[in-house]
Subunit: 336 residues, 2 copies
Amino acid sequence: MAEIRQTEIARLARVSQATVSRVLNNDPQVNEELRQRVLAVVEALGYVPDARAQSLRAQRTRLLGLVVHRAPTALAHDPFFSALIASIIEQAGKQGYHLCVDAARTVKGQRAIYEELLRTRRVDGLILVESETRDERIARLTAEGFPFVLIGRYEPEDAIYTVDNDNIGAARMATEYLLQQGRRRIAYIGGPAGLTVTRDRLRGYRDALQAWGMNYDARLVAFGAFSEQGGARAMCELLSLPHAPDAVLALDDVLAIGAMREAQRHQLRIPEDIAFIGFNDTPLCSFVEPSLTSVAIDIAALARAATQRLIDLIEGRSPSPRRLIVPSRLVPRESA
Amino acid sequence: MAEIRQTEIARLARVSQATVSRVLNNDPQVNEELRQRVLAVVEALGYVPDARAQSLRAQRTRLLGLVVHRAPTALAHDPFFSALIASIIEQAGKQGYHLCVDAARTVKGQRAIYEELLRTRRVDGLILVESETRDERIARLTAEGFPFVLIGRYEPEDAIYTVDNDNIGAARMATEYLLQQGRRRIAYIGGPAGLTVTRDRLRGYRDALQAWGMNYDARLVAFGAFSEQGGARAMCELLSLPHAPDAVLALDDVLAIGAMREAQRHQLRIPEDIAFIGFNDTPLCSFVEPSLTSVAIDIAALARAATQRLIDLIEGRSPSPRRLIVPSRLVPRESA
DNA sequence: TTGTAGGCGTTATCAG
DNA sequence: CTGATAACGCCTACAA
């Protein structure tokens, strides 16, 4: 089957190629008869414009980029990203955009991927997740004026476009929930220490303690890689303390589950001896035994909002305000 | 910051734009001194070629397409796709390809997406999953000579390029495992009935029964949507039989877990009263209670092989044989 | 209202 | 070995 171009359509409809283009772009100026002739041929041949040519000409690809900062194996075990990707695709698709997903395993790989996506103009804009306090990517993108939206928080808060949970508030709420239950030695297990989300939730945790007039004990705070193992290792550390914790707030469900498993290996009863709360309310929560209480992040809402803002930016609109907060809520189950 | 093009590099290096292009494409004919001059400027400005222009010129985008046939919510709850996507990205990235993921919720949406990806030439090739026995997409792609690889099976087997598990063999193995344990009323819960994978595993199940001289009882076979609910509903049906099953082989882990939960609601003990085996060996398996015995599909291997074959096809190589089988193995846990 | 022509940034073919 | 020059397929002034 021969490749069909506008010149071919033009020939068959006995008009100029420019007219074909006009018809396809709904130019109201074209004569109705010509329009019909063109459309008939377009229909008959099933012609669709070449996205590559359109991209060059229009200087945009209608492609959004998402770069995931996890090793593929970690990604596979983390429902957060499936949910994120799925919702982005859905929202983007509604407006004729597609999603290009990349993964950056190593740190140097990250730089390379961002550099490539940015400079090659392969995508029109980027969605970032997991920002660090001082994020090179963000400085770079901002300097270039490249459209991007961060799912997360960044300071100064009005410097860039962000969509985020109220992490500080949510962690505070979860911690107070534990305090209300009478827990008095509450531990916090974060992800990698440099991540904003790790720090924000730690802040909320500390705020709750302070509000209740309790001392902050740095020994009750541990950090782990985003994996069950990471959670187990952190828990192990916490259990070796002279005075073991009676509750744990973990940065995400996978970490929480890893920690919970470790506690079970130490013969602790959940929630009698120790309570657990995770984050994300992933499907895992109801599958584990005991089921895991978790803070439900509205991932779909985050993804939708981020995607919409990115498209707005790309198309020259300026969403306001710069920072958008999506609420989250606690989903109580057996573990706390 | 001004956009940098080859003409700009050329001006600064005092050569023609054509020479810049040659240097960037490693044309061995260029004089070493000019090459150095050009490279110095390229380096200094951090120039990277525009992917859009390259795409038009080279008639390829270095983009692979994956279309997922699940609603976004279902996707979010299914670790199979995270694993698939992650592994495809990894393999593709090694050779300078990127991945464009799309989702087709509705059936008419599917046609449209395939039509678009194909005709607009937005991607160089497609990875298909979940083939149906008579698959319109496949006929269409084949007719167009568009590069694609199917993860799954299709008949006739040498018509297209496929990568697949040995579904028939795996289902047979799992069924025989149950038979060896003394189970005698083994049920099968498939996904949507039209899917090849549903039928292949049913075939393996029947083969095992036959090899053991047992009758096939159609009432022991149920089909469900890919969700926990789908599994629960199918199980409900099976439990209403005059003679309830003592084992269940389910098409995937999520279905198996749904079915298992339903059995538990009916006060059945697992595995004493009824055994369960799922497919995919997703992380869920070890999280549920009791942990789920599952056939481990090597998703990463499938994804890698499919991706590599697709790239080979795109670049004009003809992988052989057309059909590639990736082995799978049973991972015994508590449920069977 | 329609057609002609230029250019988006590359790569590749020709001369020189 | 290098520099003009012509595509790639599309959109859009500008001209008729």
